[in-house]
């Protein structure tokens, strides 16, 4: 075999390995979805998603469904996303319009990147410590607050990146017309609306799937969420607590929760892609 043949053999070999690596992993994606759907379909029924849980867990057979977990998750993630947006949007806009390209702004971006990387169990522990400090019990409110902390860096960094995509000429023109930075923010918000929606959906998706942060703070309960100060069930914890149960009817709840959670997450990521495409109609390019 001469040198050239060897070079081309190496080329073909590596292309094959690369393709294999990618497709084996995507095969795992298919395996995950297949497992969840197969188990979930078997456990799914109308009463499963329309009733709250009664009985079950480690003690005995379960009745009722997982509506309490579905609603609990939606409340938790919804509340956290609204709260995080309330703080995250001003912070991102401030970084962009007031601080611009300064060194300090870069440091703050670094800090938020690092906050993004902190494991959610640490946020959970932190939230729990805060709760002890002010004498709060595991509740929907505590869960929302902790999840909001988890989502804040995601929102800030994604919105910041979105704002960077706005052509700088737009800001320059706006300034040239005599606006203040505050008034520019309104224009930037409108201009980057599709990206904002994407960021919000991303944060919501992270929030609804996050279990470690709500483990200590939101607790778990069989009853429907009815008060900000009471514990609340959530889909991820419904899976975590009920999967290892010896009773098939309790396990079925875990499977059904997994299916619902997966469908929610899939819909969210689909919406993320759609929002990027369809909402950008009214954007100046």
């Amino acid at each position: 075999m001469n040198r050239n043949q060897r070079r081309h053999l190496e080329e073909r070999l590596f292309k094959f390995i690369m393709r294999a690596a990618l497709f084996v992993t995507l095969g795992m994606l298919a395996a995950i979805l297949f497992t969840v759907v197969r188990k979930g379909i078997g456990a799914m029924s109308w009463s499963m998603i329309s009733e709250a849980s009664t009985g079950g867990s480690y003690l005995g057979e379960a009745e009722g469904g997982i509506l309490n977990a579905i609603l609990g998750s939606l409340y938790l993630a919804g509340g956290a996303t609204v709260l995080a947006l309330l703080f995250g949007l001003p912070v991102a806009l401030y970084l962009h319009t007031y601080m611009g390209q300064s060194k300090l702004a870069d440091y703050i971006r670094l800090v938020f990147d690092i906050l993004w990387g902190i494991p959610s169990i640490v946020y959970g522990v932190f939230g729990f410590t805060l709760m002890l400090l002010i004498g709060m019990r595991a509740s929907l409110l505590a869960g929302i607050l902790t999840l909001a902390l988890v989502e804040l860096p995601i929102l800030v960094r994604t919105i910041d990146e979105v704002l960077r995509m706005v052509p700088p000429e737009l800001s320059e023109i706006t300034y040239a017309l005599g606006t203040t930075r505050l008034e520019l923010m309104g224009i930037l918000t409108r201009q980057s609306l599709p990206g904002l929606v994407t960021a919000i959906l991303l944060a919501f998706g992270r929030g609804i799937g996050d279990a470690a942060a709500v483990l200590f703070t939101a607790g778990y309960t069989d009853s429907m969420p009815d008060s900000l100060m009471r514990p609340v069930a959530s889909l991820p914890l419904s899976i975590f607590f009920q999967l290892s149960s010896p009773f098939p009817s309790v396990q079925a709840r875990a499977y059904a929760s997994a299916l619902v959670l997966t469908i929610l997450v899939l819909v969210i990521s689909l919406l993320t892609r759609l929002s990027m495409r369809t909402l950008s109609k009214h954007v100046v390019r």
Binding site: F14, R19, Y94, P119, A211
Partner: protein
């Protein structure tokens, strides 16, 4: 009298100077000023969150750090909270081994996939969203899949096979654990979870390598793979390292998916199939009873602190590499 005192107060806080300096500013200007100050305060407060977190965890961990030396905590192998023995060694080795195993599986596949997506694939538009989808799946779903798919696979096929073929020569392949819940299952699940992160970051790094460099290499007669190997990979190396480090720190802090499949036994694992007990699982599994035993909650806070420090260190390192690359690119 009253007005003089007020005057003095105004003078002392410097309000007067400020007011006179800005006397003929418009209301719009003031609105901008107030909003700017408020949002600036908000930004600073939010970015001080890390400091607050570290201080608070340190404060809660202090009781145990005061009564035990750090080296005895880290190297201690006995974990008996009821007797006041807190040795973190099994948990530290558990965390490190699970994460390393996951990286061993995911780094080669993820880097090769990223290279393929960045430079070779013609169907990137279809494949990239699928990889992103992998990133958006919640960790408990991975855990569920681990319990239902990976654990039986390890129990029924991989571990008997490894024991039969390799177990006689290397003790780490001996099948000591018939349940399947253990290091390998957790490493496998974690590998799939870190894959999309490493791919996302390293693909971006690879795509930022100037196209001209590739063209120069190709025009000298190099094949595609030679261009990748000799030009693109060298240029992208720091960024790829950063991607791997980010993947590592994500895997190190991953909690519930690992806790569901790793077996959770307090013992330093000796074989690939042994159960382990990583730090995040320790925290997650014991939050309920930690109030009743003295120093227990302090010990769990120490575990959280260890986790936080490792993740902070790795993240700062990776992010500063990526930040420097970004600046090089824009200037």
């Amino acid at each position: 009298m009253e007005s003089i005192r007020l005057q003095m107060l105004v003078d002392r806080v410097g309000l007067r100077r400020m007011v006179s300096r800005h006397q003929n500013r418009s209301w719009r200007w003031w609105k901008d000023w107030i909003a700017g100050r408020t949002m600036g305060l908000l930004t600073v407060a939010a970015s001080l969150l890390i400091v607050v977190m570290v201080t608070m965890l340190l404060d809660r961990a202090r009781p145990i750090l005061a009564s035990n030396s750090i080296s005895s905590l880290v190297q201690g192998e006995v974990w008996k909270p009821r007797q006041g023995l807190f040795g973190f060694w099994p948990f530290i080795t558990g965390s490190v081994l699970v994460t390393l195993l996951a990286m061993l599986l995911s780094v080669p596949t993820a880097l090769l996939s990223a290279i393929y997506l960045a430079d070779y694939s013609r169907s990137r538009a279809i494949i990239k969203p699928l990889v992103d989808l992998l990133a958006s799946i919640p960790s408990v779903i991975y855990g569920l899949w681990g319990v239902l798919f990976v654990v039986p696979l390890v129990r029924d096929h991989i571990s008997p096979w490894a024991d039969r073929t390799l177990g006689d020569h290397w003790s780490i392949f001996q099948n000591t654990n018939p349940t399947g819940f253990g290091l390998l299952a957790a490493g496998f699940v974690l590998a799939i979870m870190t894959f999309p992160i490493i791919v996302a970051v390293s693909e971006e790094v690879l795509r930022s390598v100037p196209q001209g460099m590739r063209e120069a290499s190709l025009s000298l007669g190099a094949t595609d793979w030679e261009t990748t190997k000799l030009v693109v990979l060298r240029k992208a190396a720091p960024g790829l390292i950063a991607a791997v480090v980010l993947g590592f720190s994500r895997a190190f802090g991953e909690t519930l998916a690992v806790a569901m499949v790793v077996g959770n036994r307090v013992k330093v694992p000796e074989t690939l199939f042994d159960p382990a007990y990583p730090l995040p699982a320790l925290i997650a599994n014991n939050y309920g009873e930690m109030m009743s035993i003295p120093l227990y909650d302090s010990a769990l806070m120490t575990a959280a602190l260890m986790l936080l420090f490792v993740v902070l260190l790795f993240n700062v390192g990776a992010r500063s590499i990526l930040g420097r690359l970004n600046r090089e690119q824009t200037t």
